[in-house]
Subunit: 347 residues, 3 copies
């Protein structure tokens, strides 16, 4: 990939400030000021990184129309409407080329692998070495199943989905189209249900349901999604889940919800559409959460949220701004206590 800045500006609907005959051939990071950045094109979108634009030695920086420089900049600039989406466009073009090359080789069935004679395989799939595909399982077309994955019995995987190395999918689970499951994901392990017995021990409660991932779902590395006791644990269309997340049995998550790393969602919780859960958030069981709810990292929720589109923080959660107001005073508590003592002395 080699472009003159003029070509690049054309591609991005932007305009060059500086030498538009210069050539760039790689993507760079604006805060990488020590490495050789000759030939690199970076972008400035997050204001936190503004100071780097005055130091970078990158050949070009993509900036938004709204940006107003405070100091001189030695790099050439490409002014665009929105620097972040312009850069994303570039990444996509670059990925389209590199992924096409990479995936072109991921076709066919490597040996040894274990494919049940009763499994149904779609056209144009990849099955890596040491992968296991059980009885009555249906794999759609263009699906990639990486080495050492386990796909149990009676599973369905929709067209164009990617199952990375070492994913484990228990029997009866359904994966939609265009899903991506990263390495080490476990789908359909038994939910955590135990009935206490009179002698203090616990008896397993059978977990007879399954897991359904709708289309366009992404699941991060080593995340676990348990099968339902009865019915299905459901992840709605377009929902994106990060690494090391726990989704308990019978949970239902809506569409286009984004769940960051290490979130834990206990059994039978229902989460609406278009929600955002920050890292390490904890959701208690049997809770219902309205559409568009947002949770700051490490928040803990143990009650229903019925009003949509609000932001929450703390454990247990308060409304985001209320939590911050209280927390400001939490920091001042030693002073506040002293002031109460002073008042008492004056009585």
């Amino acid at each position: 990939m080699k472009f003159t800045l003029q070509q690049l500006a054309g591609l991005l609907n932007g305009r060059v400030e500086g030498d538009d005959t210069k050539i760039v051939d790689k993507l760079g990071k604006i805060d990488e000021t020590t490495l050789d950045q000759e030939g690199a094109v970076c972008f400035l979108a997050n204001p936190k990184y503004e100071s780097f634009i005055y130091q970078t030695k990158a050949t070009a920086v993509i900036v938004s129309e709204t940006f107003v420089p405070k100091h001189p900049i030695s790099s050439n600039l490409i002014w665009v409407k929105d620097a972040y989406s312009a850069f994303t466009t570039l990444l996509e073009q670059y990925e389209a080329i590199t992924k096409a090359q990479y995936f072109a080789k991921k076709i066919g069935i490597e040996n040894p692998s274990f494919v049940s004679p009763k499994a149904q395989l779609g056209e144009n799939i990849y099955v890596g070495a040491f992968a296991y595909i059980g009885e009555n399982t249906k794999i759609g077309k263009n699906v990639k199943i990486y080495p050492q994955s386990y796909i149990g019995e009676n599973v369905e995987i929709g067209d164009n989905s990617i199952i990375y190395a070492g994913v484990k999918i228990y029997q009866d689970c359904k994966i939609g189209q265009n899903c991506t499951l990263h390495a080490g994901v476990v789908i359909g392990a038994e939910g955590f249900g135990f009935a206490p017995q009179p002698d203090g021990s616990y008896k397993n409660i059978p977990q007879l349901g399954n897991v359904i991932l709708e289309d366009n779902v992404n699941i991060g590395a080593n995340t676990t999604i348990d099968r339902a006791t009865i019915g299905a644990t459901i992840i709605g269309k377009g929902t994106k889940i990060d690494n090391l997340v726990q989704v308990g049995h019978n949970v239902e998550i809506g569409k286009n919800t984004v769940i960051a790393s290490q979130v834990g969602i206990a059994g039978s919780a229902k989460i609406g559409d278009n929600c955002m859960l920050g890292g390490q958030v904890g959701i208690s069981g049997h809770i219902s959460i309205a559409n568009g709810s947002k949770f700051a990292g490490q928040s803990g929720l143990n009650n229903n949220i019925t009003t949509p589109n609000k932001s929450w923080f703390g454990s247990p959660v308060l409304e985001y701004k209320e939590f911050l107001k209280s927390y400001v005073i939490f920091k001042q508590l030693p002073d506040l206590k002293k002031r109460v003592e002073d008042l008492e002395k004056k009585e």
Copy 2:
């Protein structure tokens, strides 16, 4: 599985209110009010779900004797002593049939697998494809070892235990009878011990012990239990551990303790019998916890608990009710501060 309601009531020691000749052939969820529920039998145990009983189109609902309807119910009812345990009984009957069919096929050694000629295999076991069984390892009878599991050298696995796909058990660890280890579990990785050196670097402290799971232990998907520095990390009989839990080196957990997802237990902590740890609880190292202690989700503990059977909340933990009392006032802190300011002005 097809029953008339009369047959079902007989099985559950209950009585039918409605048409006892109706037939049910599947288990349903009471809060699933949109799907076709013809032929479904649900149960109502959690009062949170009461409103659904007035809407459900399920053929029958199992209810407890103590339930008093507030509105008319269109479904047939089966009154029993305890709806939850009656439903569990049903699940078990259903599972007994379906699991028997499922496990009937999980017998024998699939190819290719790697079994050391010095390993000892019990009768009637299943070894899935791509499983690895190391030297001097002893596998009890009726054990199921799913594909892509790794059982290192000198491991023991007791009778009737189930090792799901991709479990990794390091050398020298001992798994009891009737244990279940879900996919992706790691048993016996080296504990996190490093001795600081004068130059600021760290030297690994050798981890020479092992992990012992006693009988009837369940371990959830992708949970990790580290081997002891010396001696053993021990999980007591009947203890149930959920997904993505971390158990550090030399931890000792008692019997019939229940540990929810994403709990972290640091090295050398000792947890008693019959404890309950909510999701994402953190336990510091070298801590001792009395029998019957209960922790709300996200609690953090950095001191011994010597009085048994108490409930705890917060980080660091307070007694459950004390935490809630303080937290109520935390929410009011901006108001409380203003009241102190008002008092000061009046001075």
Copy 3:
């Protein structure tokens, strides 16, 4: 391993109090007072365990010069400058013998395994059964790759590194020398980046970078480290990471930093050298943390830390002592509120 106490004291530069002809042949734990401890040598370093030295039946206990017994001790004592490092020395000697025996067998390539003909393998390596090594990948000398590991295309692994069972390394990542990756680790999965679309759905942002582990890095079981969007996610030399930790895309961690279990580090955070992060700590994205920072367990950070060598606690974090001061009063809030009410009544 059999030593007289005299021999042991010689090895540790210590002196025996008691019968120096007694023989020890195993390492014991001082708090293990019920098992047979005949022939065991323990150590006392953590003052929390002092009470056990008056009860232990171990043949010998290693104690520091500074220790002053409060009661009679029945075991023989070995007095040394520092009991902990003396014991570590013993462990190392013991491990040197046992590991040498254990690893002596981990040489060669087990069958079946999958090694690309275009991969380059160093001398003296171990490749376990069902391991996968992709195209153009370079494995250094003395490297051990355990069964069921996946090493993608164009990966480099430095000399003497150990890749335990079931580790997954995506294409293009670089692992330094003398690194240890425990079972279930995932290196190089795609970072969690999604661009919101006008219809509420999300589009994947390509993740084109890689992961670089410098030399002497340890990674605990089931930890996940995502590849960078562009450039590299970097783990500095000598840094030690525990189990189930999440490291997001484009994170950079310095040298000799220690990160306990279940910590989550969001994308583009930069963590300095010689930091210590307690268990379950959460670090927000695009944050920068000064060298030598320490975080108590469960702390949450959403702002830069620019002053080095400070300790932090709480979520969001305060300076360690400030948090404790405020938390003491948090516990007293019901009382403080009542005092304000009393003052108001007196107005």
